[in-house]
């Protein structure tokens, strides 16, 4: 059987579960709102980075992206849903690839629209403080932001397939992003730069120092995501459903 019908089915499943489009809407709303807030707040900080300030709504907003990825997979681990799914599509690898694609595409599209909107709104608030941002940096920040949100959604999706539980994934990732990464991240050091969220966030900054640049940072996040997805795929393929 082909990939397209399976992908269509997985897309239908995401569309028809109200909480999933809801999570994407929350991603847009939270990111835009927090960016707008940061933009109007001004630039008293000496470490002020106008590009990151404009996109800083992503920090709280990414929780919605993570929830989207986690819930899209965890809906298969309720009361034997996965058995029904795999009875319809016994090629487990193909099924998981379709699921991942059906998460990646809307997450990327909504992520890009969100990044664009958040940037425009925050920039209006920042006014002349943001004059130093070049067009290249704008494009890099917005594009990177969309990709970053997609990668985080997929990272959560992979972990959920490993844990077979959305609650486990969210109770690991949310404290990690809000607390651990924040605390260790400020303590600096090169190891913290390679954490999945910290590495990917470099692309949101106008200026950066350290081992990783914007794209290599995003590549590190992509590696984390790939590892999580491979582990998830292994779990789906090897374990009894």
């Amino acid at each position: 059987m082909g990939f397209t019908p399976v992908l269509h089915s997985e897309w239908l499943k995401i569309r028809t579960l109200r909480s999933l489009p809801g999570a994407l809407l929350a991603l847009f709303a939270a990111t835009t709102a927090f960016s707008a807030l940061a933009g109007s707040d001004g630039s008293s900080d000496p470490d002020f980075d106008p590009l990151f300030t404009a996109l800083s709504g992503v920090l709280p907003g990414q929780i919605a992206a993570i929830s989207f990825g986690a819930m899209a997979v965890s809906s298969e681990y309720h009361g034997g849903a996965l058995r029904l799914t795999l009875a319809a599509v016994p090629q487990r690898g193909r099924w998981f690839a379709a699921k991942v694609t059906a998460i990646a595409v809307p997450a990327l599209l909504v992520g890009l629209v969100t990044a664009c909107t958040a940037y425009v709104v925050a920039r209006a608030g920042l006014g002349s403080a943001a004059n130093g941002i070049t067009t290249g940096e704008e494009v890099r920040g917005v594009l990177g932001c969309g990709i970053y949100l997609m990668l985080m959604a997929l990272f959560a999706a992979g972990l959920t397939a490993v844990f077979r539980s959305g609650v486990a994934t969210l109770s690991l990732l949310i404290p990690f992003i809000l607390v651990v990464s924040f605390v260790i991240g400020d303590a600096a050091g090169t190891v913290a730069d390679f954490l999945p969220d910290k590495a990917g966030q470099i692309v949101l900054h106008q200026t950066y120092d350290g081992t990783l640049g914007p794209w290599s940072g995003l590549a590190v996040t992509a590696l984390w995501t790939t590892a999580a997805l491979l582990a998830g795929a292994w779990s789906v393929r090897r374990r009894d459903a």
Binding site: M1, P5, V6, L17, R83, V89, P90
Partner: protein
Amino acid sequence: MTSIEVQALTKEYGTSRAVADLTFTVLPGRVTGFLGPNGAGKSTTMRLVLGLDRPTSGTATIGGRAYATLNEPLRHVGALLDAQAAHGSRTARDHLRALAVSNRVAVRRVDEVLEETGLTSVARRRVKTYSLGMRQRLGIAAALLGDPEVVMLDEPSNGLDPEGIIWIRALLRRLAGEGRTVLVSSHLMNETASFADHLVVLGRGRLLADTPMREFIDARVEPRVRVRTTDVTALKAALDRHGHDAVEHEDGHWTVRHARVDDIGRIASQAGVPLLELAAEEATLEQAYLDLTASETEFTAQRQEA
């Protein structure tokens, strides 16, 4: 025609054997009842047939092919494993649509199976508002979606109301009548007796019986005759003469064990005993099943002692 073939199938979870060296075939054109107490391995066997669990050894095939190698399997095999499989926040129609699309089943079939299972009026309601009986119907609708030649239902009458039980009985008979292969698990004997032609009985993961239902019952339950008379002494004397053993019941009727109505009727008539009632006591599947499992328990008890 497509049958389900199970060959030397074994599934171990850690040290416990859920299914042990199971071999049987489910043939098309009849309803096969899959019996056994809870935990006997019925659901595990069904999961193994569907390729959801990996067998420790042995094979399970459908029409000679492993389930995972079927192209668009919903068109060949329909299964109800768990009524909770549909996500509570999705509507029944969307749930079936997502399934149909994955196997390129026409969306028209979604409305057909909803109609067939009596869910049309609630099809656009979220599944979490459904009763257990409605979820069972939705699970059956999903099983019928691809118009499959093989239908496997795990405890389908769970939670169904009396009307639903009559409906599913007719449905199973019809599916078998259309030449499909129908395997239905249950732990309810009277329910199974009402629709099954053939029985596969499991106990502790092992095959206890694989026989036509009628034979299964006749081989295990002694025939009995129920008789009522106005002249008890004459009846008793006549039965004694022919070596029949009769037991009296409180309400005044007698039960003659190991006897058929043809014999008892003749004996009574020859002796001129007036009869008010003469009937064969219908042997039930439940009696036969309990007889089988009782001997099975003895067998396992003896084995453990040895």
